[in-house]
């Protein structure tokens, strides 16, 4: 029995953190956000040097062949750095879909290119998890797609996009396919690229090997686990920043961190967030090692982190006093990061409903 990270995992996380400290300091995040770049190629390049794009891709296809727990540690670190980089679409969802439901030829065609970071992949699967809004929905007929998908991740300059249709099918669409229109959506979180995709008789190739429903479940559970891990990282940094600020800011002749009114807020944040770390480790581990618990633990990780990180984001901002809400301090990048994570792939009420459904406690 060993419920802890391995030496390799700790080293990998530390080395990624070091890389991001250099490649992606707050000024870089700010520049990305203010100029609305579609993709921060330099940050992606730094991740590529560490092999992040191919982290889940098998070694035979040029990847690292790691698991979802390793991926969760990377997601946590990206969240901690509010890193403006493709990840969930390109390094997680598309590779999982192609490895799970792609033919050998499709795997051979795409996995090595994704693993090397040379190609970028987007993922448009939100409606299959959180439901369709504003007339979203994708129909497939004769190898062509029609309709639209909202909240596509990493799709803006992607070479290939994973698309889930409304009937439970999975497709790959080339980024330059005729009839594909990509519209960048503006979210509160300006550190990640979210798009709407519109399809008009857009040619697509089906991913149709194996159990597609199982692959869709795996994609959903991975998406939940990764957004939860992203929130863990972001919320953890917000606590660190609040504590550091309370240890240097003086009022009434005292460090404000010596007032119980302030330090108890910090204790409450830590007490809420710390058990989340174990929840995410377990959920991420379960994705590969405990299939029977994979969906439920992923759902609870997502819903619970959504609640806890909202509390932390709000409270950490308050501990900073007026500085907390300024653009100058930049705490809002973390605040907004968890704000998007909370809504993506279903807000907590939706996810808890699905958690009840999977236990037979509610009808779908």
């Amino acid at each position: 029995m060993d419920f802890a990270l391995s030496q390799d995992q700790k080293l990998m996380q530390a080395s990624l953190a070091g890389t991001l400290d250099r490649a992606c300091p707050l000024e870089r995040v700010r520049a990305f956000a203010e100029t609305r770049e579609p993709v921060a190629r330099d940050v992606w390049g730094a991740l590529t040097e560490l092999g992040v794009p191919g982290l889940l891709i098998a070694e035979e296809h040029g990847g690292l062949g790691l698991g979802l727990l390793d991926a969760a540690l990377i997601a946590e670190t990206l969240g901690a750095h509010v890193a403006p980089t493709p990840f969930l679409g390109s390094a997680i969802l598309a590779p999982l879909a192609i490895a799970g439901a792609g033919s050998p030829a499709q795997q051979q065609a795409w996995l090595p290119r994704l693993a090397s970071g040379d190609s970028l992949a987007g993922a448009a699967i939100a409606e299959t998890i959180s439901g369709a809004r504003d007339g979203a929905g994708v129909g497939a007929r004769g190898g062509r797609l029609n309709g639209k998908a909202l909240f596509a991740l990493d799709a803006a300059e992607a070479d290939i996009v994973l698309v889930a249709d409304s009937a439970g099918g999975l497709w790959l669409v080339a980024g330059d396919a005729p009839g594909l229109t990509r519209v960048l959506l503006t979210t509160i979180d300006v550190t990640r690229s979210v798009s709407e995709l519109r399809f008009e008789a857009t040619p697509a190739e089906a991913l149709s090997s194996g159990d597609i429903a199982a692959t869709l479940r795996r994609l959903r559970d991975a998406a939940w686990t990764m957004t939860a891990a992203d929130m863990l990282g972001a919320a953890g940094v917000m606590i660190d920043k609040a504590v550091a600020y309370a240890k240097e800011r003086r009022q009434f002749g005292r460090l404000i961190g010596s007032f119980q009114a302030v330090k108890h807020l910090c204790a409450e944040m830590a007490a809420e967030l710390e058990p989340c770390r174990a929840l995410i480790w377990y959920a991420a581990y379960a994705q590969d090692a405990v299939p029977a618990e994979a969906s439920l633990t992923a759902a609870h990780a997502k819903a619970h982190l959504s609640e806890v990180s909202r509390f932390v984001a709000r409270t950490a901002t308050e501990v900073h006093g007026g500085m907390g809400i300024t653009d100058l301090l930049g705490l809002h990048y973390w605040f907004k990061r968890v704000g998007l994570d909370r809504q993506l792939f279903g807000g907590p009420e939706r996810v808890r409903h699905l958690a009840a459904v999977m236990q037979g406690l509610a009808a779908a």
């Binding site: 504590v243 961190g257 330090k263 108890h264 204790a267 480790w281 609870h300 819903a303």
Partner: protein, 395 residues
């Protein structure tokens, strides 16, 4: 990360299961077991290493090497089988570890074995009316008188004082010393002349606690544990053991399962409670919290196995665990609606009124053993390195 137990432990789990099956006829029943049956079961458990497992043999224990996984397997095995575990109580869980750490050889020989066997029941004399969270300001005094101390003062929140044979008690022996340095740790018989026990009835309707009054209680000086003036350090050895007791994630998991079963069975106007989406959402929220605390527990076990300090993951257990148990009881009451307000022996009562009882009693657990506010001081100061509140002059 590897959550499998490995062959040695799987074999051990099978051993536990086999033991419980072959001894099923000797399990004392939860209601109405005689003292003899309970003590005989305790003896059997110690002999097989399922109670007092790591206490050395010469002091009446089983004498196994500490092995957290085996302890966990035993606890899980007993819970799964619904078997009564070994005796708990403040003597076994708090005094024995303290004596093992700081007691004299004679004290260990004399007190540990009969305590483990359940022959001596202990109570804890720490809190006083004027010394709660600020325990070190306690004023019960022990004055030297020949070979004895004369103890005068009052203790409060003393659970099991009515049944107890003995008390382990904090007293002030050096009134001139700074408050933490003037305390000593005494053990003495509750039959000593000059002790009066008054039950302290709480909001649950039961007297789970007592007040204990000392008037010229004569205690031989050799019954001090640790040196004179060292009682605060000795007590902290004991409190460390208490904090481990008060946030058991298994209790929360059991409660959650009971609530889930209740929601599946109970109906309001023909609709099952589980079919109410608002209640179901609250159930799911609590399930996530129970899971997080359970996995946090796995993390703590692993760091104990590795001999590492658990840090924040350990510091938050008392605060979060007690709060979660309380929230579960509150939710169970809400699920029951009007029936949730029934109590004692009312018609239509559910679960013997346990949810209301727990809701009230568990509020006491949030306060006792270091209040939630003290826990937050500990988390922020020790866990986050935040500055202490400046001392006022008279504190």
């Amino acid at each position: 990360m590897d959550l499998a137990y490995g062959p040695e432990y799987q074999a051990f789990a099978a051993e536990v299961e086999a033991f419980l099956e072959t001894h099923r006829d000797r399990w004392p029943s939860t209601v109405g077991a005689t003292r003899e049956q309970v003590l005989a079961w305790q003896k059997t458990l110690i002999r097989h290493g399922y109670a007092a497992r790591t206490i050395p043999r010469q002091y009446g224990g089983f004498g196994a090497e500490p092995d957290i996984l085996k302890s966990r397997i035993i606890a899980e095995g007993f819970t799964r089988a619904g078997a009564p575990g070994g005796l708990a109580g403040q003597g076994i869980s708090m005094l024995v570890p303290t004596l093992l750490e700081v007691g004299t050889e004679e004290q260990k020989q004399r007190w540990i074995a009969p305590t483990l066997a359940g022959e001596i029941i202990w109570c804890q004399g720490y809190s006083e009316p004027g010394a709660g969270s600020d325990l070190a300001s306690l004023r019960t005094q022990a004055i030297e008188d020949g070979d004895d101390f004369l103890v005068n003062g009052q203790k409060i929140w003393t659970s099991t004082a009515k049944q107890a044979d003995m008390i382990f008690c904090l007293v002030r022996t050096e009134p001139q010393a700074p408050k933490h340095a003037g305390i000593s740790y005494l053990i003495f018989s509750m039959k000593t002349p000059g002790i009066e026990v008054r039950p302290l009835k709480t909001m649950t309707g039961a007297a789970e606690f007592n007040e204990v009054f000392f008037t010229d209680v004569r205690v031989p000086k050799i019954q001090i544990v640790g040196a004179r003036g060292e009682g605060w350090r000795v007590a902290n050895t004991t409190l460390k053991h208490e904090r481990g007791m008060l946030g058991d994630p298994n209790a929360a998991e059991t409660r959650l399962a009971a609530i889930m079963a209740m929601m599946n069975e109970e109906t309001v106007s023909g609709e099952r409670l589980i079919d109410n989406p608002v209640l179901r959402d609250r159930l799911m929220r609590l399930q996530a919290r129970v899971m997080a605390m359970k996995f946090n527990g796995l993390r703590l076990i692993t760091s104990q196995l590795a001999g590492e300090q658990p840090g924040l993951a350990g510091l938050i257990v008392k605060l979060q665990g007690c709060e979660l148990n309380h929230q579960l009881a509150a939710f169970a009451i809400d699920v029951l609606g009007e029936l949730g307000a029934l109590y004692e022996d009312s018609p239509h009562l559910r679960n013997h009124g346990a949810w209301q009882q727990r809701y009230m009693f568990d509020l006491g657990l949030i306060i006792g053993g270091g209040t939630a506010q003290i826990q937050k001081n500990i988390i922020s100061e020790r866990g986050l390195g935040m500055p202490r509140e400046p001392k006022t002059v008279d504190a």
